[in-house]
């Protein structure tokens, strides 16, 4: 039950994008097609899960025993950057079209604050190894959910008669705000 609550909290109630407003850049940048948004969500989820595993190990096995907690930021950045490099190589090898569709936003997962935030939250909430992994999966699922919903709305928005002044970024930000408001409905559940 505890694990389910962590998952549900990370995915829905404290959704990283819509409640914490972390990772807005890809949320706006890659949410114009459902297919590429979903792939972006999967890539981010993958990086998130691996990040929680590796950062948990590094923090509790290496940094904490030596009293090096102050190195957590530097070492987490190192972990995330390397992982993203790896994912980039992997996607380039496996699916060229996906690689091209994600474009610049794939290397930009490196600077996606949702991932750094995830690692730091996990440490500050003192999750165990398994809890950390569930937390990472939940955050990833939440990100995928948010970006896919956003992409679905934006695909419909293409056909809508948007006033000229609102076309493009303004209407997207408005939609993101309303979506965040809708997710506020979950707050207080846990």
């Amino acid at each position: 039950m505890e694990l389910f609550l962590i998952f549900f909290s990370a995915a829905i109630v404290n959704n990283f994008v819509l409640a914490y407003f972390l990772g807005i850049c890809p949320f706006i940048g890659v949410s114009n097609k459902i297919s590429s948004a979903f792939s972006m969500g999967l890539a981010t989820t993958f990086v998130m899960v691996i990040t929680t595993i590796v950062t948990h190990l590094i923090y509790h096995q290496i940094l904490a025993p030596f009293g090096l907690e102050f190195l957590q930021y530097v070492s987490f950045i190192l972990v995330i950057a390397s992982l993203v490099q790896f994912v980039e190589m992997f996607i380039k090898k496996v699916s060229q079209p996906l690689y091209r569709a994600l474009g610049i936003f794939l290397p930009l997962i490196t600077t996606n604050c949702a991932i750094m935030g995830l690692a730091l939250f996990m440490i500050s909430k003192e999750y165990s190894f398994v809890e950390g992994i569930v937390f990472g999966v939940g955050a990833g699922v939440g990100f995928t959910l948010a970006i896919t919903i956003m992409a679905g709305i934006r695909e419909d928005l293409e056909l809508a008669d948007v006033p000229k002044a609102f076309k493009g970024a303004p209407i997207t930000l408005l939609v993101a705000g309303i979506l965040a408001l809708a997710f506020m409905g979950f707050s207080g559940m846990i």
């Binding site: 290496i62 090096l68 070492s75 390397s82 790896f86």
Partner: protein
């Protein structure tokens, strides 16, 4: 903070960095995607400014399109002629100087030829402003305003304003980016391949009487060039428009054009039409 802690911190970060670097090196070996080595070579030659002036997402993207044959070596305005030559040499094709596009200013109604309005224009000296307000102080509503929007728009300094109030292209500096075409509010500037030499240097659609009254070098719309040229020139609402696919230069009656609106950009070596006064102006 004591020195031991510092050493441990350094060793830890160094070790972590080393492990990740090693992992990535192995991954790079295993997951390397075999791609055309030409792409890498061309990417090195390109300016790597990633400015996107070629219309691609960046220099690498441009290099990929070049290798696929989807882009022209001369498409990079930043690298210019030299880069295009080098790239073309690697690709084993012509640098595409033959298809190089230059902007052509299709108005010869300079200050000496265009008739002034009754009123003078006082205001911002930009074509777009003049075009909005009153059309400047030339009587012709189709001609060059002389405000120099194209000169301002050109990032390469290839467009200059001459004394008679008409812009001129310096072909050595022109990269064919066509920003001047967009800048001109009256659509006088058009992109044409470098080898085109015959143009109707007028955009005036007025009837013969009006166009004669507003400019001494306007196309009157008499249609003689259209009748003689077998489809090489078509009349569009009192304006001769050249259909370059069907154009046969020898059939154009240059000497019959009253105002010399149709003419050569650069006169041919044998002067065939001595009385046409407008040709020969390097445009």
């Amino acid at each position: 903070m004591d020195v031991t802690l510092l050493m441990i911190a350094l060793a830890t970060m160094g070790g972590l960095g080393f492990i990740f670097a090693g992992g990535l090196a192995i991954a790079d070996r295993k997951l390397r995607v075999e791609e055309n080595p030409l792409i890498g070579k061309i990417n090195e030659i390109l300016p790597n400014a990633n400015c996107g002036a070629c219309g691609k997402a960046g220099c690498y993207d441009f290099a990929v399109s070049l290798v696929d044959g989807k882009a022209d070596p001369s498409g990079c305005p930043v690298g210019g002629e030299d880069t295009a030559q080098d790239v073309a040499m690697l690709l084993g094709i012509e640098a595409g100087t033959a298809n190089k596009m230059y902007p052509r200013i299709l108005c010869h109604g300079g200050n000496a030829d265009a008739v002034r309005k009754m009123a003078d224009y006082y205001g911002p000296l930009s074509c777009s402003a003049m075009d909005l307000v009153s059309g400047g102080d030339k009587a012709c509503y189709y001609g060059c305003l002389g405000g120099g929007d194209c000169v301002v728009a050109c990032p390469f300094g290839a467009m200059i304003m001459t004394d008679d109030g008409l812009p001129t292209v310096i072909e050595e500096l022109c990269t064919g980016c066509s920003l001047c075409v967009t800048a001109c509010p009256r659509d006088i500037i058009e992109m044409h391949p470098a080898d085109r030499n015959v143009f109707v240097f007028c955009k005036n659609h007025d009837d013969p009487k009006t166009s004669k009254a507003v400019c001494s070098v306007a196309c009157l719309g008499c249609g003689i060039c259209a009748r003689k040229s077998d489809g090489g020139v078509e009349m569009d609402n009192f304006l001769g428009v050249i259909n370059y696919d069907a154009l046969d230069e020898s059939k154009i009656p240059f000497d019959k054009c009253q105002t010399g609106a149709i003419g050569y950009l650069v006169p041919p070596v044998k002067p065939e039409t001595p009385e046409s006064k407008e040709e020969g102006l390097p445009n």
